[in-house]
């Protein structure tokens, strides 16, 4: 066992560091309690940085070289991410483009489509978003209802998508819609890509508990898509979406926010019964639990990297990471606030320590337990895919989509 890079990995890491050192600066050791709402300037900065990365060959490490990628490995991708974390860089908004959309087009699209879209996506000139979830189709994505009706060489889209990150500055979207309601639910879906500027698309931001709006609703009214923008066969949208979601599950990681170091720092700062809270044994025992979890997740990632480094396909580790870290985040936020006693309810940055980071986290933590797979869905995945337990009974099994009970009064 060792934590060292192979010679090849070490060379690559050195290259990455040289690039980062030349083009940005190392983070200070102080933790930044960054707010997460993006404005136009953020987007512009992100695009500029992405272009720099593309020029240096770090924008899409695992893409084939013919499309501007590096033809590199997953482990190189992770090494880059590991290193970049230590530097001051704009918030990354291209995961959906680089990690999801273009790989899907590479798998299911014509070569000329890939040539059209790869480079702009790579350089951040065009941003992609994902149009999957709907108000009535969250955990049960296969229950989506947005209709796609064929009309000659075109499809007409009507319906509503929700939880779309970045929709308000995205150029293109990956869309799954129902092309046939008379077959079982997964068989009636078709996959398209769509120009987000198409007539009939309306985008509304969703206001979250915290007041932030990281997600949008997207409404479709008679939006027309040429059939040439279909990816995969008619009725095979589920298969296309699933390969994409599998990639997403690998991307969705740790719920960001105050972690062990931060609650430890807060407990050093705050007094409890006349002494720093960190000296209180009850506080200490609770903090130990989080250290174990944090360290366990960090080390689990090393196990994944080892597997990747040996060319293996990673397992369900990302599910564990998200499941554990989201609840940990909510608990740490709540505990941190409680350490402040009666002052905890004020999240004014003039009062609340660390720029009210714990209070902010309490407000967005519930979303972390839901978005990108709820706690319940993740437990199902672990139980069924890792432990191979049988699936639940299916009320929608073998039913044509239109006959699946929805609870709507008929």
């Amino acid at each position: 066992m060792d934590f060292e890079d192979t010679p090849e990995e070490a060379t690559f890491r050195a290259e990455v560091r040289a690039f980062l050192d030349a083009n940005t600066t190392r983070k200070s050791t102080e933790r930044a309690y960054r707010k997460r709402a993006l404005d136009e300037a953020d987007v512009a900065r992100a695009k500029q940085w992405q272009a720099q990365k593309a020029d240096a060959g770090f924008a899409a490490i695992t893409w084939p070289t013919e499309y501007g990628g590096r033809g590199g490995s997953m482990i190189q991708h992770l090494i880059y991410a590991q290193e970049e974390e230590n530097y001051v860089v704009p918030q990354h908004i291209f995961n959906q483009s680089i990690g999801l959309a273009l790989p899907t087009i590479m798998t299911h699209g014509r070569k000329d489509r890939v040539e059209r879209f790869a480079r702009p996506a790579l350089r951040g000139e065009e941003i992609w978003c994902q149009l999957f979830s709907e108000p009535a189709a969250g955990s049960d994505l296969g229950g989506l209802r947005t209709r796609a009706v064929r009309d000659g060489d075109e499809w007409v889209i009507n319906g509503q998508k929700i939880w779309t990150s970045n929709a308000y500055f995205a150029d293109f979207g990956m869309l799954v819609a129902r092309s046939d309601a008379n077959v079982v639910k997964h068989a009636g879906l078709t996959f398209f890509y769509i120009d987000m500027k198409s007539p009939g698309i309306e985008i509304r931001r969703i206001r979250q508990i915290s007041g932030a709006s990281n997600f949008c609703e997207v409404f479709f009214t008679d939006v027309r898509i040429p059939d040439s923008q279909r990816l995969g066969a008619v009725g095979e949208g589920w298969k296309v979406a699933m390969t994409m979601l599998l990639n997403e599950r690998l991307v969705v990681g740790q719920a960001e926010g105050p972690d062990f170091e931060d609650i430890y720092a807060l407990a050093k700062l705050v007094l409890l019964e006349g002494a720093p809270a960190i000296e209180d044994v009850a506080v200490r025992e609770r903090l130990a639990d989080w250290y174990i979890q944090q360290q366990g997740l960090r080390l689990t990632k090393f196990r994944t990297m080892t597997a990747l480094s040996r060319g293996k396909t990673p397992g369900p580790e990302a599910s564990i990471t998200k499941l554990v870290s989201a609840t940990k985040l909510q608990d740490i936020a709540s505990f941190g606030i409680d350490l402040l006693g009666m002052a905890g309810a004020a999240m004014d940055p003039r009062i609340a320590p660390m720029n009210a980071w714990f209070q902010e986290a309490l407000l967005y933590a519930p979303g972390k337990r839901i978005a990108g797979g709820t706690d319940e869905v993740l437990r199902n995945i672990i139980a069924e895919r890792v432990l191979k337990l049988p699936g639940d009974m299916r009320a929608d099994k073998d039913l044509p989509f239109r006959d699946i009970p929805t609870g709507a009064k008929s």
Binding site: D140, Q208, I209, M342, A343
Partner: protein
């Protein structure tokens, strides 16, 4: 054995519940928040009209003298709709402080105004971080005047009088009346976790204050907090129950995979756990109501138990209500967050769960030592 509310209290509850559900339906609190007002003045007048604000106040002081049992059920119903009024600070804390420790003159001056809703009270104990403890009190009365910044003070915006916890000139800590229309009063609104429950930094400069005659030691503060803790527990249980009701209703009507999500054990068992936590808290709160009604020797222990159980049950129910709602649960357009943030704000208002858990154990030690004949 009659471990249930009186028929009178139940009748009041039924009426209050009907009134509040109609008056503060889903969405009303969000609308109120967006209005920017400190509290819903019309609602305040209406509940004053019905005598709720004088529930614990004798008729001689302008109260409705409905009694503590009734005050408890009202607190529960107020909690259930997250009513945008400073019911707790004014009733459980300001009125209660005057009732317990005010001189006859002080009672005559203030109680009728509080009972009628004409004046609103609040309670300023925190001096920044920390739970209630004499060593955490920094405000210091000098020459009958206070110069200090008390923060955060829940609901201090729009209120007329504060009961302030401060150091006495003679040493020790006491309770003081600070009229907020007086000299040198400034209120700075602080962003609150619970946006429907405005927090204020109350800045006083040479503001004349009046000691509450009988409340000039820490024991008085403790007694006041204990009594308030029981009323808060009911408000918290009201909120917890409402969060559970929301979750149950949603779980019955929301379908996934062709069936109501409430038919999945993950959801079903979560809801059962919420119910159990609330029932445990409720039974403990009932005991608090009993102790409050007769000012029983068991009150301090009953209060700490009821308060801790209710703080935990509400936070648990509010948090998991969001989880049951999925994506909709963490949007502003749902009521879920009102319960979530209120649960945390109430759990901190008069001291954290940690504070009350430790108080509970101290009181148990005392009880056990007494029983052992020490």
């Amino acid at each position: 054995m009659n471990f249930d509310f009186s028929e009178d209290a139940k009748a009041v509850r039924e009426h209050a519940s009907r009134f509040l559900r109609e008056r503060v339906p889903s969405g009303a609190v969000r609308k109120h928040i967006e209005s920017g007002a400190a509290y819903d003045k019309a609602l305040w007048s209406e509940i004053a009209e019905m005598g709720w604000l004088g529930a614990t106040i004798p008729e001689a002081f302008g109260g409705s003298a409905m009694g503590y049992e009734t005050a408890c059920v009202l607190a529960e119903e107020i909690g259930a709709v997250v009513a945008p009024v400073p019911f707790g600070p004014s009733l459980y804390l300001a009125s209660e402080a005057l009732l317990a420790f005010g001189s006859d003159a002080q009672k005559r001056t203030w109680l009728p105004l509080l009972a009628s809703g004409e004046k609103i009270g609040c309670f300023a104990i925190a001096d920044g971080e920390g739970d209630p403890a004499p060593e955490n009190v920094r405000a210091h009365v000098v020459g009958g005047k206070l110069t200090c910044e008390k923060f955060p003070v829940p609901n201090a915006e729009g209120t007329d009088v504060a009961i302030v916890v401060a150091r006495r000139e003679a040493g020790g800590v006491g309770l003081f009346i600070a009229p907020l229309d007086g000299h040198g009063v400034e209120r700075v609104t602080l962003r609150g976790l619970d946006v429907a429950n405005p927090q204020v930094a109350l800045r006083l400069v040479d503001t004349p204050v009046e000691p509450l005659a009988g409340g000039q030691d820490w024991a008085a503060v403790t007694k006041l907090l204990d009594r308030a803790a029981i009323l808060f527990a009911f408000e918290q249980i009201g909120g917890a129950r409402a969060a559970l009701d929301m979750a149950v209703t949603y779980a019955k009507s929301r379908y996934a995979f062709g069936r109501p999500i409430g038919s999945f054990q993950a959801v079903k068992h979560k809801l059962a756990d919420m119910y159990v936590a609330i029932e445990i808290a409720r039974s403990n709160a009932y005991f608090g109501a009993w102790a409050l009604e007769r000012d029983a020797a068991e009150l301090p222990l009953a209060a700490a138990t009821a308060r801790t159980a209710a703080s935990e049950a509400y936070q648990f129910a509010a948090k998991e209500n969001i989880q049951v709602h999925g994506g909709m649960g963490f949007t502003w357009e749902s009521d879920c967050h009102l319960y979530y943030t209120r649960a945390k704000a109430l759990a901190l208002a008069i001291g954290s769960v940690r504070h009350w858990k430790r108080a509970l154990m101290t009181r148990l030690d005392q009880r056990n030592e007494a029983a052992d004949g020490f």
